[in-house]
């Protein structure tokens, strides 16, 4: 077996008896960048939720770093998940009661205790997304683009193996979407994380090494842009 980060075999998810997808097989290797496209409602979000076991699959096997976690207990999954996955959602990524720095360090706080080096790492990451000096700002004072960049930094804070970005630029205008996308890709590259990008944007999809399309309840590999 190869050293893939996540792998799914023959995955199937039903809601109320109707299949959202079935027979899905794919794997993501270290440093690989992957995109999943598909019409709205085709099940992209469901696929990544099942992949990271936020939702149980109806059928099939899920491997995280070659370990079959399909039937692992919820305590173990809660423990493993933040070490493997970092998330960037389309919106409402940040906790409004915390300031920027506190938001960035929050995932670390959940899985361990915060050390001085974590704070420095957070500040360094903020620098990499051109957001120096906003540590103490209240998140409600940030623009949408800034928020998504902060979310990208937060996703990176625990050195995850893969960043899952579910339409991270969906709410942004073209210019800041491009900028944000660049930052996310740079971050992943700089820290050696894989990237799983869910997007409607064809241009972004093409920038990934591998592209998939979810449609008619199955996942098809479009191309290897390698």
């Amino acid at each position: 077996m190869s050293n893939c980060i996540v792998e799914v075999q023959n995955l199937r998810k039903d809601f109320n008896g109707t299949s959202i997808f079935r027979g899905v097989n794919f794997r993501i290797m270290p440093r690989e960048t992957v995109s999943i496209c598909g019409n709205s409602g085709s099940g992209k979000t469901t696929l990544v939720n099942v992949l990271s076991l936020l939702e149980p699959p109806t059928q099939g096997n899920i491997f995280w770093q070659n370990e079959n976690v399909t039937n692992a207990n919820s305590g173990k999954i809660s423990q493993l998940r933040p070490k493997i996955f970092g998330y960037i959602f389309q919106q409402c990524n940040l906790i409004p009661e915390l300031n920027v720095l506190e938001n960035l360090l929050f995932p670390t706080r959940i899985i361990s205790i915060i050390k001085k080096s974590d704070i420095e790492f957070a500040k360094k990451l903020l620098g990499q997304v051109n957001l120096c000096g906003i540590e103490q700002r209240n998140v409600s004072t940030l623009s949408g683009g800034e928020r998504q960049r902060v979310a990208a930094v937060r996703a990176m804070i625990n050195h995850p193996k893969i960043i899952i970005a579910d339409e991270p630029t969906g709410n942004l205008d073209v210019k800041s979407a491009d900028a944000t996308m660049d930052m996310i890709m740079n971050l992943c590259d700089a820290h050696g994380s894989s990237l799983l990008l869910i997007t409607h944007n064809q241009r972004f999809a093409e920038r990934m090494q591998t592209s998939y399309v979810l449609g008619n309840a199955s996942l098809k590999k479009l191309s290897d842009h390698l």
């Binding site: 979000t45 469901t46 939720n49 990271s52 936020l54 939702e55 919820s74 305590g75 809660s78 423990q79 998940r81 933040p82 996955f85 998330y87 959602f89 409402c92 990524n93 906790i95 409004p96 009661e97 915390l98 300031n99 506190e102 929050f106 995932p107 706080r109 959940i110 899985i111 103490q136 209240n138």
Partner: protein, 409 residues
């Protein structure tokens, strides 16, 4: 610090803001409930303490009596004083008699005491409002304040006493000569029932009036400080013969004590509703915040939080409100209790309540009493109720499915 406690604190006291409106209102509600509960309970406790003190001061700690008249009074006193727990013992006898001043007559209870001993057993000395006890032993009488007032008697005047024994002799056509006694003092305990109608005379005079010879009705005891009257009487009754019985002041006044206790419990239950109402509003606000933060709860799961931890975050919010609310409430309450008399005085000034009302309700010098235990029990109670409120929200959190929560707009 555990992350869910940290987040609970942050949600109540967000970064960059001092305090959220919700926390301020919730804490205020709990503090109000705690303060009212605490102030009322300590004032009640103060009043009750005074009543109990009055009982002990007027009756002594323990009474020993017999079904018939005690003829060997001195021997019994000697026996009782052989107990190291007994500090002092005083013989007494009592009976009803007609008291006459001019053409006014009343039928008070007359108590005969050995004044020197009595002063060591009861607090009679501190209730004397007029006159003194210097000449009491040679034909003096002490009247309770209301009795004196109702017959218009003052210190130094004489009153006449007719005992039932005298009336019995009426048949034999004798002229009855009443006993004439000089009022040597007037006493007032401040409690109507005691002050209403009691006269105190030297024991030998009462014995004479009632034809008791050397007999007495009972002996009152004062115990050494720290000795529980209830425990001591239990022990004492074992060493007394069948017909002689010792009873503690608690036993003798158990009806009154029961009423006092019930009263306090009832007030507690009524006031607890203030706390319950604030707990309900905390619960509903927290549940609203769970609904509002559904997506955030999904996010916490994605970041590695377990369902239990997410639920604990909301439970903690209830607990924190309870802890801070109790602290604020108790601080406020102890301050109010400390300055209660100035507060009442200010209130009187502002509202123009007249002095008579104040005296009537003993508000002029309001008693209050509380201990560390009272503080803890009120605080723990309030925190418990707030935790239950937090629990209601936590149970909503436990129902949330993280994947669905993340879809929540």
């Amino acid at each position: 610090m555990k992350w869910y406690i940290y987040l609970a604190l942050k949600q109540l006291f967000p970064s960059g803001k001092k305090i959220s409106f919700f926390s301020a209102m919730s804490i205020f509600g709990v503090a109000l409930g705690v303060a009212v509960l605490f102030v009322v309970q300590s004032v009640m406790e103060g009043f009750q303490h005074n009543i109990k003190r009055m009982i002990v001061d007027t009756q002594g700690d323990v009474h020993v009596d017999r079904q018939r008249i005690i003829c060997d009074g001195d021997a019994l006193v000697k026996f009782l004083q052989s107990f190291p727990e007994v500090e002092a013992a005083a013989k007494y006898a009592y009976g009803f008699a007609m008291l006459k001043r001019g053409n006014q007559s009343l039928f008070p209870l007359i108590k005969g005491i050995d004044v020197a001993k009595e002063l060591r057993v009861t607090g009679l000395g501190k209730f004397i409002k007029a006159g003194n006890l210097d000449n009491f032993d040679c034909g003096g009488i002490i009247l309770s304040s209301e009795l004196a007032r109702s017959i218009g008697a003052t210190v130094g005047e004489c009153v006449e006493i007719y005992s039932p024994a005298m009336l019995e002799n009426m048949n034999s056509d004798e002229v009855i000569l009443p006993k004439t006694l000089e009022i040597s003092a007037i006493y007032e305990t401040g409690y109507h029932n005691v002050d209403k109608s009691v006269a105190i005379v030297p024991l030998d005079i009462l014995q004479d009036l009632y034809g008791l010879e050397n007999g007495i009705h009972g002996i009152s005891l004062k115990l050494q400080t720290g000795i529980s009257p209830e425990k001591f009487t239990f022990q004492l009754n074992d060493s007394l013969d069948e017909s002689t019985h010792a009873s503690s002041w608690q036993e003798m006044n158990q009806d009154l004590l029961f009423v006092l206790k019930t009263e306090k419990t009832m007030i507690f239950f009524i006031l607890v509703f203030i706390l319950l109402i604030s707990a309900f509003s905390i619960a509903s606000s927290l549940i609203i915040s769970v609904v509002r933060k559904t997506r955030e709860i999904g996010l916490l799961s994605a970041l590695g939080g377990t369902k239990k931890q997410c639920a604990a975050c909301f439970l903690m919010q209830g607990a924190i409100i309870g802890i801070i609310g109790s602290a604020v409430g108790i601080t406020a309450a102890t301050t109010i209790v400390k300055f209660r008399n100035s507060i009442v005085a200010l209130f009187v000034k502002l509202c123009g309540v007249d002095d008579f009302m104040l005296k009537f309700y003993s508000f002029a010098n309001m008693p209050a009493k509380y201990g560390v235990r009272d503080i803890f029990s009120v605080a723990i109670f309030a925190i418990g109720i707030c935790c239950i409120a937090g629990m209601a929200a936590a149970m909503q959190v436990a129902k949330i499915n993280p994947a669905e929560a993340l879809r929540n707009e």
